[in-house]
Symmetry: C2
Subunit: 258 residues, 2 copies
DNA sequence: AAACGACGTTTCAAATAATGAAACACTTGT
DNA sequence: ACAAGTGTTTCATTATTTGAAACGTCGTTT
């Protein structure tokens, strides 16, 4: 049978607690939060620190993610042919559209940010490669849902938690379903301040040459800079980018990276 | 006493074998290379795969670094105020100088690439954030050595392995010593095809506001584009970037990230 | 000053999980 | 059909992880 190594699982479970939201942890705090014994947590944290995976702040005795993960994480990027191929396209799109551009894939029912290029403007969205966003209130997420095969889409939607972030967030599945149908026919998706007030995004699907959905490409910017009548133009630039990616990645499939 | 978790240490030791040079491993291969039992390796790899830390290629049954590390690695970057502060400066320098720009710090006697912005030119150096380079044959390395406190510098140099990469590589410690003295007086360092033929780099030191050496900033490009009489100009732009970083990072110290 | 509380750290016997040689299952090339 | 190469599973032996309690240290409160 498949007997996994529990210590290693525990270690990575601990690492997952170090989020953008909660970047530092003390021994007792983490022990209490995970329900484990504080000795165990202490030893695991000390081990991870000795490896450079965590770093202990000398003044506070609290732990943070360390450079070893930075190093390992960037080795992955290398081997990820996807990002390597798409980044130049994103740069061009960002330059043309003058807004922050993102590339996201679907991963465990969330939008996983694979790459971004920031807007040249002073006021811009500052987001995070490697982080997750909800699917139901982002343009990337709507694209990634809408172009899923029907049964997979149903499954995903039925498991969704339509948490509300702003007054504009879609919180009813029927409404989401309807909007996804619309997205599929018009081939682009919008997020009108549904995740954050003042933030508007437009996204289009990215297919490989077998016409399998690979990712979604979006532009995001402040609502007051968004010109309603220029929507067609935004979509056009994004679609141009999407097809540039398509011709670059060929028959690349998500199965080769996930 | 300090009793570390051996399983966790072993797991990260395995991860360190997945390098740019050798990105995939099979069970037996890795077992032989580490001198461990193949059952042990098998179970550790299976565990890491179940966590998304490794990914098993379905066709070959070989393992590669997975998206979980990509995710964790990018969480570190966030918390690393250094990169967050310096990236915009690097962008400006890269635009002004039209070459690939790097920011590196000294880590375990090697140059650790913290950030880069690629040249807008077609022909450019394609390097890797999160990787290590030798100190004795890179402009970044020479800066990071030259501006070390004297005793630390002696220690570092005495432990160095002056491996030869090209005919230009400095392989004698006396010569390196002499050049470092020169670097210190002129406040910039050169690498004239010492690591790779056809590649020339210029670097300057980056200090914090306490005048402690934090990092080195370099521009790298093809030798045939390097104009000898424009050296002063390159150095000027880099130094301008270095002082922009200095005023941004304030009293930031390497102790807070390493 | 002394007592307190909160923290990381260490101890040691008991409980548990990791180990490795061998057998197994499977694929690939001869 | 065979051989040689994979990854995978087994199970008794071995070594490690575990957790309650005690310890040392810091800053705050009495």
């Amino acid at each position: 049978m498949r007997t996994l190594n529990h210590s290693v699982i525990k270690a990575f479970d601990l690492l997952d607690h170090f989020t953008q939201h909660h970047p530092t942890w003390g021994v007792r705090e983490l022990a209490q939060h995970t329900g484990q014994n504080k000795s165990t947590i202490y030893r695991l944290l000390a081990t991870l620190e000795s490896l450079g995976v965590l770093r202990k702040e000398i003044q506070t005795d609290r732990y943070t993610l360390g450079l070893k993960l930075f190093e390992l994480g960037h080795r992955v990027q290398l081997q990820q042919s996807l990002v390597h191929q798409t980044h130049p396209v994103l740069q061009r799109v960002a330059a043309n559209i003058s807004e922050t551009v993102h590339l996201g894939v679907l991963r465990s029912a969330k939008v996983f940010m694979v790459d971004k290029v920031e807007s040249p403007m002073g006021l811009k969205l500052s987001s995070t490669v490697g982080s997750y966003s909800p699917v139901h209130c982002t343009s990337l997420g709507k694209i990634l849902l809408a172009f899923q095969p029907q049964d997979r889409r149903r499954q995903l939607i039925s498991d969704l938690d339509l948490r509300s972030y702003t007054a504009n967030t879609i919180t009813r599945k029927r409404l989401l379903q309807a909007q996804l149908n619309e997205v599929r026919t018009q081939s682009y998706a919008l997020d009108r301040e549904e995740l954050e007030l003042g933030l508007i995004c437009v996204a289009v699907p990215v297919f490989n040459q077998q016409r399998e959905l690979i990712a979604a490409l979006s532009a995001a910017g402040p609502a007051n800079r968004f010109r309603e009548n220029a929507l067609g133009e935004y979509v056009g630039i994004l679609q141009q980018g999407a097809s540039a990616i398509q011709s670059r990645i060929g028959s690349f499939s998500l199965k080769t990276i996930m």
